[in-house]
Symmetry: C2
Subunit: 369 residues, 2 copies
């Protein structure tokens, strides 16, 4: 039994939704969400739909008088349709059992946890639910870290991490390129990457030289961050840039920033009334897809929209279409550079710790053997 | 002389724009932006337009062979049309002179600084500009903090802070209410507030009782965070809730979360084809405005949009209209709760340090006298 005080189950594969979500996506995917809150379940289902996060199962269990966090987590750990588990939990009934299952689950697949009630006031606000083990911020963070769980502090951050884990092959991505224009954007991305344990090392000089030859001059820089000088560099040049940069063995992943709203100026200069017709969306998506296939290294896309005034709704529509095209080509899309970097760091940290744990287990096995 | 390698000046009051911005806002406002990067100037001008950030002057000074960071900052410090100064700087020519002017400026008006090139790779990327004093992250952070400067790490964060400083009366806002539904949203906001030095204390019990009587039952909670139970609570009830909560002398500012996309379900239940007609936008904006006027305490609005799939463009249009209505009533609007909390903390920290500095100066004056 699930509940009471909950919205129940949403399972697109079986077409079942007890949540009030007639317009939830009907497409299945790898992400499960287990939530003590009904409201967050609904919000996450909607958020996921436009972000390209698809769900295996979503279970809102509310006050959980029978099945709850521990039992349901154990189920999702064994569920073949689920490869990423997201969890919103306020209080748990049996802390020891929960942490045991959590550790087991995180050894098998990434588990992303948002713990509600970490602050004094937050703890008070969840007290009317189940205040057991509603402990302090530091204790929870340490316990989750020990289990190699990805801890997030907002639904937005949970969505970013879930997207990265769904779309990036599990791996350690520490060295990135940042490809975009102008210069300050790359400088800024690089500055934000460092505290997250990510770096943007200079490319091998032979590759820099090749990139220098194809990018517009003056104003571009092939070092890394790669400044492409203007927002209208055609897809074939971008693809070649990604291929050259991806050929550097020190690079694990590429982050591209595309300022699509800039095409509005181009459209007006060309006297073209349809913004959509001047933005080479299909070409851009194909360029990223080809670069991923050939280099074997993921490409992540940032689509900022600085023009969000009420009258700029056409740009918004183009960006939304772009997002779907990129996602269909296996390119994860983020709104803000910082969001993407945090999500990439989450995947890398998880993969690195899991590798370390597995290695230490193997050593112990050998020692025992 | 300004430049070379820059976009020059944008000054809406005089109708002057040397930046390539034919669709920049023509409305003047209190925010100045001084930037070593032309691209960021353009991005910030567009970002500001939809966020309700209006500019006094924007100066992109590029390589700055004549006037640059120090001289221009001194000018903005004396400019009566500017009450908030934003600055993007990569390297400075004369560190000591710059910090002296920075300290003087920040004693007079808030100064928000984004320093590019803090990381190893970022420093390398700015080296082609002016690498003088392109120092390390820690040195810069310490120097900026000593000057009581608000340091931000992205353009988005700069916009959030600039909006808060333009719209909130300068003051120390430590104790907030969070008003919204459902429960997890409030718990989450409260959890994020604490590490920023903000709190959501329980309201006085007599006020809780008054709020309990007017909010929908069951599902609501008047303690703080105030859970309004459902997203359709009418404006007059929300206004009364804000007034009761604002009457608590411990409360400095109120954060309201409105889930406008939820009205789509209401519209479809009512058989109403126009989403706009079921969302009481004017009423909501008026409710906040009245609460601000009567209580004398700022209200800040969060308008998340979890439904951003390509087909949900009508909801986006409603939210954009809502944003303008709230801004016109003096209510700062943010996309994410965390963005708002960081901006409120920035205003509070700045005001608290300035107060402490002024007090210590007065003491010194008295001692000297």
């Amino acid at each position: 039994m699930i509940g009471p005080n909950c919205f129940g189950i949403y399972c697109p594969e079986s077409g079942l939704t007890m949540l009030p979500g007639p317009d939830f996506s009907r497409r299945s995917g790898p992400v499960a969400f287990l939530s003590q809150s009904g409201g967050l379940s609904i919000d996450f289902a909607y958020l996921g739909k436009w972000r390209g996060i698809y769900f295996s199962k979503m279970i809102s269990f509310g006050n959980g008088c029978d099945l709850r966090e521990t039992e349901l987590l154990e189920y999702l750990c064994q569920d073949d349709a689920t490869s990423v588990i997201c969890l919103y939990v306020e209080g748990v009934i049996n802390g020891r059992a929960f942490l045991t299952v959590l550790r087991k689950a995180a050894a098998k697949k990434p588990v992303i946890v948002m713990k509600g009630g970490l602050s004094d006031a937050g703890g008070r606000a969840v007290a009317s639910h189940t205040a057991s083990m509603g402990g302090s911020r530091k204790i929870w963070s340490a316990a989750l870290k020990q289990c190699n769980v990805v801890q997030v502090e907002s639904l937005q951050e949970m969505a970013d991490a879930a997207l990265a884990f769904s779309m990036l092959p599990l791996g350690i991505y520490r060295s990135l390129t940042v490809v975009g224009g102008g210069g300050a954007l790359g400088v800024n991305a690089t500055d934000m990457a460092e505290p997250l344990g990510l770096s943007t090392p200079p490319l091998a000089s032979a590759l820099q030289e090749k990139i220098r030859r194809i990018l517009p001059q003056p104003g571009s820089s092939p070092v890394n961050p790669i400044d492409i000088a203007n927002p209208f560099v055609p897809p074939d040049i971008l693809e070649q840039t990604l291929l050259y940069a991806g050929a550097d063995e020190n690079i694990h992943l590429q982050v591209m920033i595309q300022l699509l709203p800039s095409y509005q100026s181009l459209a007006s200069m060309l006297g073209e009334k349809s913004l959509r017709r001047v933005v080479p969306l299909e070409g851009l998506a194909q360029a990223c897809s080809n670069a991923i296939q050939i280099s074997g290294k993921p490409v992540v896309m940032i689509l900022p929209n600085y023009k969000q005034e009420a009258s700029a709704i056409e740009i918004e529509a183009v960006i939304r279409e772009a997002r779907q095209l990129f996602l269909a080509e296996g390119v994860a899309v983020f709104e803000r550079v910082k969001d993407a970097l945090k999500a990439i760091a989450a995947v890398s940290d998880y993969a690195a710790r899991r590798q370390a744990i597995e290695l230490s287990c193997q050593k112990n096995m050998t020692a025992v053997g």
